[in-house]
Symmetry: C2
Subunit: 378 residues, 2 copies
């Protein structure tokens, strides 16, 4: 086994201290080149590399070569890109291909791709032979700062997104920030909404830093590594407090109740709205709603919106291409969400930037009034 | 919530002390009548009852009535009987039906059926909403003494049986032994092979008790409850020592290396061989092989065979309807098994009745010689 080349010594390590499921997230440019050594150090003999048709041609060869050079027998499994791949059929395809590749209990599944590949390959790893280890090599900003951290894996059902899955922590996450150089700008912006979210949840300083440094994140400067690492730290801290999402972890849903409703209304049609765009509108609305309820200064809501706008993200209901539906449709889409109990909804609201909290008893009528005024305002 | 009726006070309780996943197995006649109260006591609001087309018409109504009478909203999901149901398609069907029934995180999946339904519904419970609780109401002898204990759930892949699944412990197991009154005799005998196996593994006294009391087990006397409870105790003890099958739990595979090979050779065609019949032949062969290796008295092997024969189980390769294949085919089928490493095989062998052990380094050549003599002898 070769040792880990020196050029990767500059990676930032974010530990995720989950007891016997603890693992490290490494963040840095060029990590993929030395990935084989780091992955081989986990002690497996074989790896099934799962990727999609956009990412595979760009990076699968470099990664599988690096794995092979470090003694790991490697099979590459390439799936169609897009949310539709996160399906029962996708699960069957990945599981059977992983078994075909003779992956045993001690071996690895390696996810090379965005959240779609990470969620699907992670779920397959959770269930093939009742659980093999897996490694995340996230290739989108969203997956580097969000989906590859926390162990949630899964697929979609006709009843909704991510309704079938498992908690399965990776053994290692390699966030090579240079891979984002090829990411379409729209996907980059979408992922950025989640970066900003961490500041808005409980870290006003980080949000302010984002306001001042976002161009470096987009341009691939050292700010990008810093932003990814800080986001991972923020998410890891929440996950460690609440691994199986029975409490606190809900804070991560800031902006997501509105965002998910918009995704539903646009039928998950990514030509209209991608997840992060829904989140950007949702973040703005969560702050505007908090302001409307008298919880938060309107100026904070305006600051949130101004920043997301400067990045090029949509922030209002009127920004949804093809329209956001009626108030009733929005409410309906929202009450299909998990976070609903009885006649009232659970929202993540804020007292200001970096001061979000879980608000379990928000009356549906107040939401209706708010949405009505938002739609009227457009 | 009504209290638990007095008539079920006679149930035998077998605790499975797995820390925060601990649960009880209750064994007794007529448990299904009071099942609603016991299941409602777990604190759910709704249950999805999963069953098959043989078992459903016999027992689903009684169970769902009992659940409804105890305030649990209940949906019944009925699947075709047979091993083919333990498939990706079966998983999709159950998961979607469970979601359709609006089962939330605190609710329950209840498996009412044999090992096929238990494995499939348990796996669905493990992955719907990343895990809901489940209750086993096993209706075959095999499922009461084996598959419903230990938390292994799963489906088959085209690469082999049970290759996709999860460890997911039930919250409660209700083994109503009166349900076995309608079980086809052949299924009853097949399950009995697993009962005898527990004696053969490490409990010579229990095996002797079986020799003297097996007719009571088949006739539904109090011996049946005793045998089911004792089998559950035996399996639970192994599972508690090795929940995720990294060591000791392999002892439970006594008779299964040969048995699985025969199942493969007969292409899982249950008209030719059912699992328990393969196990019965496998148990006899494991003891005969142990004797041939000079590890165990031949008289013990003969005693094993005599008992399984008296119950009406097959015990020799020549008993496989349609033939057991050639030595090469058998060896081939065996080396596809998980328990193979390098040129040697892992067997569970015995020094005598109740004295089995894991033998990791059995040379393939010794197995070949033994199989050759067995086939020649027929
Ligand atoms: N598990 C979690 O905790 C969690 C959290 C948030 C989101 N998610 C899930 O993540 C998914 C969305 O993830 P996503 O936004 O990464 O989408 P994605 O995986 O679909 O990737 C977006 C697009 O970018 C392409 N792409 C990826 N990396 C690239 C690169 N380096 N260069 C060029 N193109 C590249 C992909 O092929 C795809 O077309 C959703 O399914 C969502 O449910 C999961
Ligand atoms: N999870 C585990 O640890 C474990 C252990 C051993 C076996 N298994 C699995 O168990 C499965 C076999 O289980 P099985 O032998 O119970 O088979 P099964 O579930 O197919 O049941 C056998 C037959 O009996 C019928 N039946 C069930 N209960 C009945 C009743 N009370 N009255 C009349 N008919 C009834 C069924 O409809 C079926 O036709 C296999 O898939 C095997 O892989 C799992």
């Amino acid at each position: 086994m070769s040792s880990i080349p020196a050029q990767t010594a500059s990676a930032i390590t974010v530990p995720v201290p989950l007891g016997d499921r603890a693992y490290d997230i490494l963040v840095g440019r060029g990590l993929i080149e030395a990935a084989g050594a780091r992955i081989a150090a986990l002690g497996a003999r074989a790896a099934a590399l799962v990727t999609d048709e956009h990412v595979g041609p760009l990076y699968a060869q470099a990664l599988s070569r690096s794995l092979a050079a470090n003694g790991l027998r490697t099979a590459v499994i390439t799936l169609p890109p897009g949310e539709a791949t996160k399906s029962y059929a996708g699960l069957e395809r990945v599981c059977d291909a992983v078994l075909e590749a003779k992956i045993e209990r001690g071996d690895l599944v390696v996810a090379l791709g965005g959240g779609v590949i990470g969620d699907l390959a992670g779920f397959a790893a959770a269930v093939v032979r009742r659980g093999v280890r897996f490694v995340q090599v996230p290739t989108t900003l969203l997956s580097q700062v969000d989906s590859s951290v926390g162990g949630k894996t899964g697929i979609n059902s006709r009843h909704g997104k991510n309704l079938v899955g498992a908690f399965h922590q990776p053994s290692l996450v390699l966030a090579d920030t240079s891979l984002l150089d090829t990411l379409p700008a729209r996907e980059m912006r979408a992922g950025y909404a989640e970066v900003a979210k961490y500041g808005l949840i409980d870290d006003a300083r980080f949000f302010a830093w984002c306001e001042g440094n976002w161009t470096g994140i987009f341009d691939g400067g050292p700010e990008r590594d810093e932003a990814v690492a800080q986001s991972c730290r923020a998410k890891a801290a929440v996950v460690v407090r609440d691994e199986h999402e029975t409490g606190d972890r809900a804070l991560l849903n800031l902006g997501h109740t509105f965002g998910h409703a918009l995704e539903r209304i646009t039928r998950y049609d990514s030509t209209r709205l991608v997840h992060g765009e829904g989140v950007a509108i949702g973040l703005t609305l969560a702050f505007r709603f908090s302001a409307a309820l008298g919880l938060c200064p309107l100026s904070d809501a305006e600051r949130v919106e101004a920043h997301l706008k400067s990045v090029g993200l949509p922030t209002r209901l009127s920004h949804v291409p093809g329209g956001c539906g009626t108030v009733d449709e929005l409410l309906d889409a929202m009450t299909q969400d998990k976070k609903v109990k009885g006649g009232s909804l659970t929202f993540i609201l804020a007292r200001g930037i970096g001061q979000s909290f879980i608000a379990p008893g928000v009356e549906a009528e107040k939401v209706r009034a708010f949405l009505t005024s938002e739609i009227d305002a457009t």
